[in-house]
Subunit: 220 residues, 2 copies
DNA sequence: ATTTCGAAACTTGTATACAAGATTGGGTTT
DNA sequence: AAACCCAATCTTGTATACAAGTTTCGAAAT
């Protein structure tokens, strides 16, 4: 099946992978030939991608894969760190006993991240598990709705993160911080949470790593 | 001019006003006759409204004005209260001196809210100024981006708020709280902010006012 | 009276022709 | 050689015909 949803996912992934690099022109007619679909439904798909920030539409001129906007990345990181430190504190200070399933589910994810670190070439899998961990926290706190809301504006942050995480030594740090966060919840320690979450999400936004190595993908 | 943007705004407003009540069917053909525009661009508009939560699309069956989803309202209120208490604390604890313009702009808004309370029939104006005040806080803290992001998911919260604020005695309380928030910032008092913001945004979500008086507009 | 069936009349979804703005490139003018 | 202009050819935007589900409603069968 070559349904609209599949094509949308496919284009989204190609942009996230950088198979479609920032600046690439996405012409409706070219895409309609590629996917054997007429322009009308393809326009719907492009509208959606534009709404999520994956492409930029120049009226009557064309559609271009958007350049990574570090300003947007910083705003999303602020949003996420603010929200996550709040909801993690909510979990840790919750009166009723914590659900065993919640803890086990997150521990399972962390084990699989551990396994990824051993393997070569498990970067993509590690990042996917990273998302699952954070999504799990949102859902555990009853805030899955807000996770989904943030995902709708993730085109810049997600590409930033993938490039940023190419620095391999970071993976171990991330995993360790995940363990710390989870232990804060289970052991009801509120006090370290703010610093922990801020360090986990905000630490590296200021490093010049991206500007030095991937300037051609960045919005000027 | 009957551009697409105008029609979008118009439909959005009619839904927010409850001129178009939850459950109303929005047929593409009917709308295309009303606005003298063909179905293709109208579909774009409906897609946008659907994305923002104003309408619900039943595939191959039709488009219906969405019922107010109190769950979505609660989630947005949690998001806003969490974010706003953080960014207001950021403003209040900022090292550099506060910009005079920022303070004056917000004070001007509060004066106009004061004026609205005197008049009859200035409900709509009061609510608009309420938005301007909160938007002003976001922008002052350098977070206008996040304000706009939240606005994209405001279909339920905005209708909730308009109905909720019909309780007239609330307006004075709101204005007083706005003044308190602003004074916390200018006088650098961090400590009361959390409670103040939570009270301001979350206080009334639990009251049964809407369920009793406007059950026919609510999602079941 | 009740159920069942099916055609007609709806709905949105897709393909395609045409409109109209934007760009490009070559030939003319200066 | 440089500037200009206009036509050809891109692009997206719009209108419309047609496809394909869904519902409705009445007639026929039980």
């Amino acid at each position: 099946m070559n349904g609209k949803a599949d094509i949308l996912h496919r284009l989204r992934n190609e942009i996230l992978n950088l198979e479609l690099k920032p600046g690439t022109i996405l012409s409706e007619t070219v895409l309609s030939e590629r996917f054997q679909l007429s322009r009308t439904p393809l326009r719907d798909i492009l509208k959606q991608l534009a709404h999520e920030g994956y492409i930029h539409v120049y009226p009557k001129r064309g559609n271009v894969v958007s350049y990574i906007d570090l300003e947007s990345v910083e705003q999303i990181i602020y949003l996420r760190s603010t929200l996550e430190k709040e909801l993690i504190k909510n979990l840790a200070s919750q009166q009723s006993p914590l659900s065993i399933q919640g803890v086990m589910k997150l521990n399972e994810i962390l084990s699989r991240q551990e396994a990824c670190i051993q393997q070569e070439d498990a970067h993509a899998a590690f990042l996917q598990l990273d998302d699952q961990f954070h999504k799990g926290l949102f859902e555990w706190a009853g805030r899955g709705f807000l996770w989904e809301l943030i995902q709708q504006s993730n085109a810049h942050y997600e590409r930033y993160r993938r490039l940023h995480m190419l620095q391999k030594e970071k993976l171990k740090v991330i995993l360790a911080e995940h363990r710390s966060i989870l232990s804060c919840i289970t052991e009801r320690r509120i006090e370290p949470i703010d610093e922990l979450v801020i360090h986990h999400l905000r630490e590296d936004i200021h490093t010049p790593y991206l500007r030095e190595n991937f300037a051609e993908y960045l919005k000027t």
